[in-house]
Symmetry: C2
Subunit: 768 residues, 2 copies
């Protein structure tokens, strides 16, 4: 059943009382990160119970040899895996010579807290060791947002009933493995271990990819809050280094170790400078001191929350849930490095490998665009721009030519990683999301210049793909797209998926529209791009021949677009008539039964209508929502948010709220019994969208105009959210009785509320 | 490129000259077996070059844990693998203390022969050892058809240029592994090794399945053809036993070892009787003597050829090819044990695992039915009857109820082994072949009694499956079958595959027809079956509702049934317009491209028309042949034979011959560059059909009448074939100018030649 042990709290995730059964789930939920590195909430000290150790560095991956039952031509040889990195948090603790291990002690007053407001993780409890010593333990740690290669730990042990010796053994361990290795291979080689006074460093490199990483630590100590110097005993193993420090304590004393850790990698330094850089990081951190670092951390998170917070009154679990999502999204990706992206598990686990899915463009960009500076969303677009060559190679492997690009389903460096033919080769709608991301960005930021500088090349390559991928059907006298998988992965190898055909047509049209505008307004860029791509007017005419004559399956009787050819040959029985015992169908039914059923995993036709709401009438939206939603099982974490937003947009708040609730606490309440594997990071952006775009009705239209249409679920007292709209920090407040807009910025911004234009001067409060 | 080193010969497969590059291919081609056991043509002595060691026992398998990239609900946990069994053929040879190994010697006059007329394998050559000794070697070995747990080896070494010592070290080795193990696991446990004078035995059991196997050897010796007794030195290892014997030889002497081997298994003996039984076998063999055993072998094969031979005049390669096929089919399956079946590689390799595909019913039954006693085909039917419970369980795993059965795609013991969803769950047409096998058998043998005794239960379970698997389409107002893969595996998850729908409808109709006849003629059996299956008239009425309203995709314009819904949305370009460089498409194209192309792997619509030729007019056959054959790439070894037969039946001998040639020497000329993995056993039955049913035009119709319509390819002088038709041994001879029929039996049999009835009394020659 769902786990339900997290204590509701507005700003913190709290675990009260120790239960070994929750350790792995908590390791996921209490994860910390700063967009560049992150880690599961593993204990610093040894733990002999069930645990899943994980520490990760953004952009460092390993090409794990593909595992497959039956090979299909075109499969990638490797799957780029997020890599479990050397452990820098480890501190073994001995009390009078006995190893301290939560799994062997009596534990009381255990409390774990992830403070999202300030960005730190703490634990406190009392423990009785098997040998009888009683201790009180307090730890706090964080990964610095400001100094983004650094983490810090405060680890304090109080002797409650004894005098004697406490030994701290901080260590670095590069002998780590991935939980999800395909062939149980070891992914790292240890190159060098260096020792020094109170600090150490291990230089490792990943096999095959040859990323070099230096992992450093430095330690200092206090007794009853006063700094002390201790003697160090070194133990160096093949892949690890341990320093032991002994403190004599009297009953009532508190011994504290401060441990500073750092990862630096060859992504940012020359290989021969890594050890030096890592040492500098930990020494600077130690010199600055734990308290100063912590204050900087609190300030960093205050700035993040300033433009990202959502406040919900009247529902503390909803408040906790949405802040958890915003917090985790920020821990995963800060937007400062265009080589990084938003992995499905962030830094909370390894599952699915890779780092980038179409989730980024379809779900995450809106969040980052609206809560951060425009550069952040732009970096996400540049990530794809920088991988265009690989996307062209990927398409060539599948037989496409002339610069056509197919972006990968899952990737780390631009190469395709996935190996299910029905996904890898056929879930090609992802290519449409790449262009939709650009369109969304241009509308929101009005930074059209991104198109001539970068985006246009991507759009041309994708238009080429769609042009080649469609074929003329003599039987239909129109262009068709055969053999695809839509966003609804409960259909495979289908023909004329409405969503795919729609995006294909739109991608071509938008590419041509942008080409025309660039030709007029950015003549130099136009010439450069045309020269680079060898694009001719004849070729674009051929594209338009396809887009102008694209076939869409439509049923006259029901007056709806069909998800694919033949959809109405299925037995159509609404989900709520399915016995509970048969759900979730992905656990209860064999795959063929799922495929031939009418049940929809996640929005498909409706995903298209969500993306292009402006191109459909409200009647059409209602008709399609009423046809498809009852057939949708929402067995993807990305499903409910889209339905919530659409429901709100057709004024069905109860349905919108019902769908919202399905994802808002997906991980905190562990709906799918898998949070121990890591959190569902990308769907968290969907939950954010459900509030801002759903309940708040925020839209930015093609003409660049921002509008709101705030509604509120009956269950809440009020909610408010903040967005950064072209530098204007706008806050929207909605209660059961009123609606207010605040503009913190100096600039005037034009808003539309239900079609009425409102100008909001700086700092002025507006009540509708 | 194709290998082309086999010397053409009417009765033998011959390799002339030693080439290490051909060793693995020859190990497949020169394999020997007796239907119960068999082995690749590995050398008896040590060989340090590339080799694929394989020795197999019918019915002994291991459930190898499934290997899969992405798990789908319903996949089997295990894949039953044909097991490489303990090696009994090994004889190490030392010449003056130096180990003899072909890979380190200069070899001349190397000749290897597989004598198909007599059923033995031999090698002869001269070798110069690195140490200078020259020897002449002659070996012959066979696996006895008459004593089907026994094999024998004659191994003679002549000292050409030295006097000294020849050491023979015959051994048994149970430390063997499978080439195609999923996780490199060891499949056998050695239980006991027993030693005795000139004989030894190893008792092993398979892990998990716990089959017990005793492998025994016994040896005797001769010097210059005179028996000698030698002293034995024993070496026993953990999983192997070696006996060494030294012979002093003078220049010109020939030292010979005779080695007799035996496998006995817990399929046929109690576990504690195995060692005794194996010893009895080898001792009886030794007592009988090598020469006597060989004579029995020649007699056995003479009997096999008597009712199975095909003689082709004017084309020695064609003659060799067809005899190779008939020989291998007989080596793989003799029909005496209903627990065995016809593995795709027989005893020549391990690939594909399992032992039984729908190939048995669709391709192999006609061969065994026409060349052997009716009991052989009946045993193949009983194999499926005995696995009906497992087929019902298999269907239950996929959500079917009420005794519906889905026979497995690949199996050893009745459980499904395969794990590709589009095959395992969707290539359900195989269920139709199970019923077609019964129909075919009843027509040929007129043994309708098989239906009430066994077949009817299978037919009921399969009719139930089709009834449940079809669903009513409101859009089409007919029953449809969604989400299937037809025989053409280059289409996956398609709707309304013509072949599948046709077989589904026919299975129901034939089941009901048989039910009615059984009710009338076998009242007791009827009651028993009805009681066992709980079948009611209401249920059969529901079946007929489906079969009477089955939808078939049809195109009015082209006047052809479509392979599936939407087939004409594809780009239709004939295969011969594809550039050569793009073929075979299964090596050159990614899987999605193959799927959305119009190209057909093997007969699909045409497979249905081949099965039910009597239900289609010649016009229809021609129209469909002319539409589909040009789109067919024949990238399955099972494809050309069906097209060859259909082409002959619409009087297109050049096309029929072209297709015949594509499979007749598939392995001998290694068209697919994979013969080193083993031979394509089941497609060999297709080649036999191409001659007998294709060129010979043999048909047995629903009313039990046998007809011929002999035609001859322009390239041949004449051909003749022999069939066993209800105990009548009938020989058909066709030359470019005449056609003759011989009936060897005492009984009169009625033949139809192009519609004209002809009676042929015993031993009488008929010329048409």
């Amino acid at each position: 059943m769902n786990k339900n042990y997290i204590i509701p709290n507005e700003w913190s995730i709290i675990e009260d009382g120790f239960d070994a059964e929750n350790v792995e789930a908590s390791e996921s939920l209490f994860s910390i990160g700063n967009g560049s590195m992150g880690q599961r909430a593993n204990f610093e000290e040894d733990y002999s119970g069930k645990t899943f150790q994980g520490s990760y560095i953004g952009g460092i991956y390993y090409p794990d040899k593909t595992r497959v039952g039956w090979w299909k031509n075109g499969y990638p040889e490797y799957f780029a895996k997020v890599l479990n990195a050397p452990n820098w948090i480890g501190i073994q603790v001995q009390i009078n010579g006995a190893n301290f291990d939560l799994n062997t002690c009596e534990i009381s007053n255990f409390k774990r807290e992830l403070n999202m407001k300030e960005g730190w993780l703490s634990r406190s409890f009392q423990a009785v060791l098997p040998s009888g010593e009683q201790i009180e333990l307090f730890t706090k740690r964080f990964i610095s947002v400001k100094y983004n290669e650094v983490g810090a730990i405060e680890y304090a042990v109080k002797a409650l009933n004894f005098s004697g010796e406490i030994t701290f053994t901080p260590y670095l361990d590069a002998g780590i493995e991935n939980e999800d290795s395909n062939y149980d291979e070891y992914f790292w080689e240890t190159l060098e271990i260096s020792e020094s006074l109170n600090k150490a460093c291990i230089l490792s490199k990943t096999l095959k990819t040859e990323f070099h990483v230096a992992t450093a630590m430095e330690v200092s100590f206090a007794l009853n809050n006063k700094a002390v110097e201790l003697t160090q005993e070194n133990k160096v193993e093949e892949k690890a280094i341990y320093y032991s420090y002994k403190l004599a304590v009297s009953e009532g004393d508190t011994a504290t170790i401060y441990k500073y850790g750092s990862y630096v990698s060859s992504l940012n330094y020359a290989n021969d400078e890594l050890v030096k850089a890592a040492y500098e990081n930990v020494t600077n951190a130690k010199d600055l001191g734990y308290q100063q670092l912590l204050e900087a951390q609190i300030k960093s998170w205050d700035e993040i929350w300033h433009t990202a917070d959502i406040i919900i009154e009247g529902d503390v679990k909803a408040q906790q849930g949405i802040r958890f999502n915003i917090f985790q999204l920020n821990q995963t990706y800060m937007g400062t490095d265009a080589r990084l992206n938003i992995g499905p598990k962030g830094f909370t686990g390894e599952k699915y490998g890779g780092s980038t899915y179409w989730d980024t463009e379809a779900y995450c960009i809106p969040f980052y665009m609206a809560t951060k500076d425009a550069n952040v969303a732009k970096n996400l677009l540049l990530y794809r721009y920088n991988q265009l060559d690989k996307a062209i190679e990927n398409a060539e492997k599948l037989g496409f030519k002339n610069g056509a690009a197919l972006y990968p389903m899952v990737t780390m460096n631009g190469e395709e990683c996935h190996n299910e033919w029905e996904i890898t080769f056929e879930e090609i709608h992802r290519n449409g999301a790449m262009v939709y991301g650009i369109y969304n960005y241009v509308n929101y930021t009005q930074d059209f210049e991104y198109v001539p500088k970068n985006g246009l090349e991507v759009m041309i390559a994708i238009a080429r793909f769609w042009h080649q991928r469609a074929n003329f059907s003599a039987a239909k006298n129109q262009y068709v797209i055969l053999g695809v998988t839509g966003p609804n992965e409960y259909e495979n190898n289908i023909n004329n998926n409405f969503y795919t055909n729609y995006l294909a047509k739109w991608c071509i049209e938008y590419a041509v529209e942008c080409l025309n505008r660039v030709k007029k307004e950015y003549a130099n860029d136009f010439e450069r791009v045309i020269a680079k791509t060898n694009l001719t007017a004849e070729e674009t005419a051929k594209w338009l021949e396809v887009s102008n004559n694209m076939y869409f399956p439509f049923d006259e009787g029901k007056n709806v677009y069909l998800q694919q050819d033949g959809f109405l040959d299925k037995e159509i029985i609404p989900v709520d008539e399915l016995p509970k015992s048969e759900r979730p169908i992905n656990q209860k039914w064999s795959w063929d039964r799922i495929l031939r059923s009418c049940y929809i995993k996640q929005a498909d036709v409706l995903q298209g209508m969500f993306f292009f709401e402006n191109k459909f009438s409200k009647d059409e939206l209602e008709r399609h929502f009423d046809f498809y939603e009852p057939l949708t099982v929402h067995e993807s974490s990305l499903s409910p948010c889209v339905h919530s937003i659409l429901a709100a947009s057709i004024d069905r708040m109860p349905k919108a709220y019902e769908q919202y609730v399905r994802t808002s606490r997906l991980d905190l309440d562990d709906y799918n019994h898998e949070v121990h594997e890591g959190c569902h990071i990308t769907s968290m952006a969907g939950t954010w969208m459900s509030i801002v775009q759903g309940f708040g009705g925020m839209r930015v239209w093609e003409d660049g105009i921002l509008t709101f249409n705030p509604q509120i679920p009956a269950e809440w007292k009020s909610y408010s959210f903040t967005i950064n709209f072209r530098g204007n920090i706008i806050k929207v407040y909605k209660s059961q009785t009123e609606c207010k807009f605040f503009n913190e910025s100096e600039n005037e911004v034009h808003l539309f509320i239900k079609g009425e234009k409102i100008s909001i001067p700086a700092q002025q409060l507006v009540t509708v």
